[in-house]
């Protein structure tokens, strides 16, 4: 039995309960999300999941805040420079919404720790900055059958995809040959836009909409303010979610 919303929660979410209902708000409160990466994408993702009332946020990142993060990593301030990102993020998110649980994990994703990090989560939010780490996350999403929302940015642009194991292409079907993970320039607004698209997709999915935005790669182009999408297909020979005949 789900506990009723408190008077404080009803007041906090007064402007959105008419849209999602008290049952929807309770659903968000009972949801667990894994945010992999507490950087440019992780910042808006975490803030808007917290604002919406997602009850349990597990956020992973091994890094400390540096000054060059601050053009896009809006979770942090000048005073956080040198602090572990997940520690500063947890503090900010809990002061923003004290009703939620934030679980900071100061680790890098690895084949050794990934299963434990994903276990029990309702959705995975890819806010990483390398495809090597993204593929570790993607494989575990497929193994455990946990939906994942991919996001990536570069320059003024970005991309987003909702991955539902067994129903949509996985990340390895979409990205057959990853681009180089160079230290690419990124405008903060691109990370903000993609992070919000991911947060929106996550909230819709957690509320029970499992049909919108499947099997497409959403493209944001901030240089001309355009949002497009291109269709993506499952690769039956995918070595992660298919029969593996395309391995190697």
């Amino acid at each position: 039995m789900v506990a009723m919303l408190s008077a404080e929660e009803r007041e906090r979410y007064r402007r959105q309960i008419p849209l999602i209902g008290e049952a929807g708000q309770e659903k968000l409160r009972g949801s667990k999300v894994l945010i992999a990466g507490a950087g440019g994408l992780g910042s808006p993702l975490a803030l808007y999941c917290a604002a919406a009332g997602v009850g349990h946020i597990r956020i992973i990142d091994p890094d400390v805040v540096s000054r060059s993060n601050l053009n896009r990593q809006v979770l942090y301030t000048e005073a956080d420079i040198g602090r572990p990102k997940v520690e500063a993020a947890a503090e900010r998110l809990c002061s923003f919404n004290p009703d939620i649980r934030v679980e900071p994990v100061r680790e890098s994703l690895s084949p050794e720790n990934i299963a434990g990090l994903v276990r029990g989560m309702d959705i995975i939010l890819d806010a990483l900055d390398t495809y090597a780490a993204r593929f570790i996350l993607n494989q575990q999403a497929v193994v455990q059958g946990v939906p994942m929302i991919h996001g990536a940015v570069g320059g003024f642009c970005g991309q987003m995809a909702l991955i539902v194991p067994g129903r949509t292409p996985c990340l390895a079907c979409i990205i057959l040959h990853p681009p180089a993970d160079a230290d690419v320039p990124v405008m903060g607004i691109a990370a903000g836009m993609i992070g919000l698209l991911q947060a929106g997709a996550a909230i819709r999915f957690l509320l029970g909409d499992h049909h919108t935005g499947l099997s497409e790669l959403v493209l944001w182009d901030g240089s001309c303010g355009r949002l497009d999408s291109i269709p993506m297909e499952r690769d039956p020979g995918c070595m992660i979610c298919g029969d593996g005949r395309n391995a190697g």
Partner: protein
């Protein structure tokens, strides 16, 4: 024959968002991508690898269906086909 190109992200900035190009009858996807590269000075560096093929990371669709691997070299295009090119990004 004429085909339509849709380019996204930095390809849109470089080549334009949507335009038509002329390619020989029965041109393959690879030929069309090379024609796109030739349509702007410096286009080869943006779109092609050292062998003159489309860079492996680039997502290519023909009539909204993914074309990958060997099909980029073998699939023949027809008049009015639409080719989409998108360079995935990696940052977070």
């Amino acid at each position: 024959m004429k085909i339509t190109v849709r380019a996204f992200a930095r390809f849109r900035e470089f080549f334009g968002g949507q335009f038509d190009i002329e390619v020989p009858e029965h041109a393959r996807v690879r030929d069309a991508v090379r024609a796109i590269a030739r349509s702007r000075p410096g286009g080869g560096e943006v779109l092609l690898d050292a062998e003159g093929d489309v860079q492996r990371s680039v997502i290519v669709l023909v009539n909204r269906a993914r074309v990958a691997g060997e099909a980029r070299e073998t699939l023949r295009l027809e008049e009015g086909d639409e080719i989409t090119i998108y360079p995935p990004v990696a940052g977070g």
